[in-house]
């Protein structure tokens, strides 16, 4: 639906007033915040290594790599800003802004204007990068503050979100929490906004969404459907993950232990040991010996609900109980020749 001319003129006029009333860009700043962030991570990692906390050290190393990449990016951006053209800003006139809005309608099909919220939005076609479907995105610009000094004046929303498996906030390799990291495009996007070149701004953001920079994504497309093992922090494909049957944490193959009785997967914390054979066994499969209360797996617990040790002891006791009776009977042995009464078997014979 095309907007009436009057509405577009009103919007153009408002954007123009916002552009001319804004103060010039602030001075350049060194990225100290990111520098100190990396410094803190480096110290924590060293501490974790010294204490032998391998998983924590691995996780911190990953965060550190991300931080250093960000630092390089910020320094590169600063270098670009210092090296770029320093000619005075050319701000679009109301007529030009009107033409920009018209051309946006033609380029994106539909332009959403919200005069109250002071926003302009366009929607992209569904985006698919390297075979991964990410869906369409809405680029929403708040024209009340077109400078990029105090945070980004625009947001990019996934209208049919297909976020990374590991992080719901990452809806695109270069978008986190609806904020785009422009990378190479930062300088040029900033300029287009400051000059009121709305058409250039929206087309550039759309181009950025269509491009994948494999060197610096929030989540790599190759890992889009991947998960992190909770125990060792290793990244594994989602279809290769295992969940602990008890606490349901994600596990890699190396960190999964199967119960020797039910064969269900468990994490290290949720698995116990059989006191009899010392094999891995889950708490559901373990049963206590009725005599010594030792935890036993099904193989080590006998039919009489005793462990083999207790069973052996019981047998021994039974044998010992039988022994005194035997000794008593041997003390009074049955004689082979019975004592017989006098004249037994004698017959009176007539003389």
């Amino acid at each position: 639906m095309k907007h009436p001319r009057k509405r577009l003129w009103r919007t153009a006029s408002r954007i123009y007033h916002c552009l001319v009333s804004e103060e010039p860009s602030s001075l350049y700043e060194m990225p100290f915040q990111t520098w100190w962030y990396c410094d803190r991570l480096l110290r924590k990692r060293q501490q974790a290594q010294r204490r032998g906390w391998d998983s924590a050290a691995l996780k911190l190393e990953r965060q550190l790599k991300t931080g250093v990449t960000q630092l390089i990016q910020e320094l590169t951006t600063l270098h670009g800003e210092l090296s770029s053209d320093t000619s005075p800003q050319q701000i679009s006139s109301v007529r030009e802004l009107y033409a920009e809005l018209r051309s946006l309608e033609e380029e994106f099909g539909e332009l959403q204007l919200d005069l109250r919220a002071q926003t302009i939005s366009v929607s992209t076609e569904p985006i698919k990068l390297e075979g991964v479907y990410l869906g369409p995105f809405e680029i929403r610009l708040n024209y009340a503050n077109l400078k990029m000094d105090n945070g980004s004046p625009y947001r990019v929303f996934a209208t049919d979100p297909h976020p990374a498996f590991t992080n719901d906030c990452v809806t695109h390799p270069h978008i986190q929490s609806d904020v785009v990291c422009e990378g190479d495009g930062r300088q040029v996007i900033r300029r287009s906004l400051e000059q009121g070149r709305l058409f250039d701004f929206f087309t550039m953001v759309a181009s950025l969404l269509q491009t994948y920079n494999r060197d610096s994504p929030y989540v790599a497309l190759s890992d889009w459907d991947s998960v992190e093992c909770t125990e060792c922090a290793d990244v594994i494909a989602a279809n290769q993950q295992t969940r602990c049957d008890n606490c349901e944490i994600t596990l890699c193959t190396g960190c999964t232990k199967d119960c020797s009785d039910c064969d269900c997967p468990f994490c290290h914390e949720c698995l116990s040991y059989c006191d009899g054979c010392h094999g891995h066994c889950c708490s559901s499969c373990l049963q206590q010996c009725i005599q010594c209360h030792a935890d036993c797996c099904q193989r080590c617990l006998l039919e009489n609900e005793r462990c083999s040790d207790c069973d052996a002891e019981e047998e021994l006791e039974e044998t010992e109980e039988e022994l005194p009776e035997t000794q008593a009977s041997s003390a009074n042995p049955v004689t082979a020749t019975a004592v017989q009464s006098d004249c037994l078997g004698e017959t009176v014979v007539p003389a």
């Binding site: 785009v180 990291c181 190479d184 287009s192 070149r197 058409f199 929030y218």
Partner: protein, 74 residues
């Protein structure tokens, strides 16, 4: 004749330039962008799509925007 050239490649700048009359879009692109491939750019004259052989007019506004802009992790 005088044109407004907006080059959104690299740092991005907008400036008025003088070109000989009859210069086409393709010629201006070659002159300003060197060996770059035109298919990697969105080229607009007065915000409208244009053919490579379109002759430029005095006061035209030409914008050259890369179609591939690499984002990054912030």
């Amino acid at each position: 004749m005088k044109l407004l050239l907006i080059n959104n490649d690299g740092g991005g700048f907008a400036d008025y330039i003088d070109v000989p009359a009859g210069t086409t879009v393709a010629q201006l692109f070659e002159q300003k962008m060197g060996d770059a491939e035109a298919r990697d750019y969105l080229i607009r004259v007065n915000r409208q799509p244009c053919p490579p052989d379109q002759q430029l007019q005095d006061g035209d506004r030409i914008s050259i925007t890369p179609t591939k802009i690499e984002g990054a992790r912030s």
